[in-house]
Amino acid sequence: MNAPARSLSRWVGAAALATTALTVWLGLWVTPPAKVQGTLVRLLYLHPPIAWVALYCAFGVAALSSVLYLWRRTRSRFWDRLGASAVEVGVVFTALTLVTGSLWGRPTWGVWWTWTARLTSTALLLVLFLGYLALRRVPADPDVRARRCAVAALVAVVDVPIVSFSVDWWQTLHQRGTVLNPGLTLKVHGSMAWTMGLGFLAMTLVFVWMVLVRYRIEALSDRLGDDELEISLSERWAEGAMGTAVEPTATVEPAAVEPVAVEPAVVVEPAGGRP
């Protein structure tokens, strides 16, 4: 990754840290407890923003980059890495959505988990994209892997509306005991609205920063793979050259061998040194 991109990720990281800290401060100390939910409302400065990042930002980016990878004209490793980074961050955020929702649900509804449409389809989404990550971890040729992963991400994204439809019907037709009160939709006022808005900004920045960092790791590990191959190839060549140089003359003349043997070492250079 080049220098401007790295400084971008640094700035985004700093902004994410600042806005998150501000959200925490506003959410925990400044804003008042809510009328009905009391202090529980503070979880809502975090939970909806996390869900927004998971469901829309992360999987939206993943779907878009998969399409762009599969389309021949725009196919490049960039989209593959971006998609993979977005999915990985998205899985973390989806898990966090479920955890924070569950923490909120226990005191509010009295249960950790209910089989509502939203919860169930979010859980299925998590499993779907865990499958994507499992597929990605399987060693394969980078191009083959990229294509497979792009198809898997697309199929999973296509599945999401069907899942949410079916679960929605399933739930409305077979509701056992209403724990979920549909009137719980929040009317947010004043400082609470500000804090929630800030939470959205903070989580989106965290998402962007994590994707940037993840992308960089992906690109570096690709580079490492390529370089390792290059290095070991040139080492073999050097050995071969040494073998032919040594055999005819029994005495080894280091001066004759050296240029060939030293040359490949140039390949090893610190990351980021390459244009």
Binding site: G131, V138, D143, R147, D159
Partner: protein, 222 residues
């Protein structure tokens, strides 16, 4: 495309007929699952009867995983994939053919399972046409999604463990809609049962379309 599909389906089914894997492994497995469900839920007939549609579809899902694994394994022999690619057969045709072969095996599985829940769980279908339509649509959707994911995991050493993880969450809507439709078919509540076909139909259509569109790029490299 259609002629190619017929050729591929015929080839797959002929291999199945000769190797008898479906007959001796997939079908007995489906029955075994039903019997195990019986053990798990106890011998009380009311519980079993109430759970029967769900258990039926769960058994169908497990059998789908086995059938697609088998369908992928056929293509993983040495040079088989290259042969298929070199033969100039349309990838969409390959997809449709393989899906059709899996679908036919699933029909056999479902006939056996249907008889199984009637005999073992004492289920009577009030509106049998509803169950039939639901099964037909679900079969198309399951085999399309299964074959597509089979191609995704083709040639990987971890195929056996990866495929269920990928396929089962994808086909969850079929499990939900299928078992609801069958429950309605058992109780005779036609109106509520028929509405579930609105999920099974689009599911089948979407995965057929996705498979036709994306099987090509997958086959190119794999």
């Amino acid at each position: 495309m259609w002629r190619d599909a017929l050729l591929v389906a015929e080839k797959d089914l002929r291999i199945e007929l000769r190797s008898r894997v479906a007959l001796w492994q997939v079908l007995p497995f489906a029955v075994l699952v039903l019997v195990l469900f019986g053990f798990a839920l106890g011998p009380g007939p009311t519980t079993l009867r109430a759970a029967a549609p769900g258990l039926y579809w769960l058994a169908v899902l497990f059998s789908t995983v086995l059938a697609t694994q088998r369908s992928t394994a056929i293509e993983s022999g040495e040079g088989t994939r290259d042969g298929l690619r070199l033969s100039g057969i349309d990838p969409a045709g390959v997809f449709l053919g393989k899906a059709a072969a899996v679908a036919i095996q699933l029909v056999a599985v479902q006939l056996l399972l249907g008889a199984g829940i009637v005999v073992l769980f004492d289920v009577h279908l009030e509106t049998w046409w509803l169950a039939l339509v639901a099964s037909a649509l679900a079969t198309v959707g399951l085999s399309a999604a299964g074959v597509l994911y089979g191609a995704l995991s083709a040639g990987l050493r971890v195929r056996e463990t990866l495929l269920p993880l990928l396929v089962l969450p994808i086909v969850a809507p079929v499990l939900i809609a299928g078992s609801r439709a069958w429950s309605a078919a058992v109780t005779g509540a036609v109106a509520s049962g028929a509405s579930w076909l609105k999920i099974l139909g689009p599911f089948a259509a979407v995965y057929l379309a996705v498979g036709v569109a994306l099987y090509g790029p997958l086959q190119e490299t794999a």
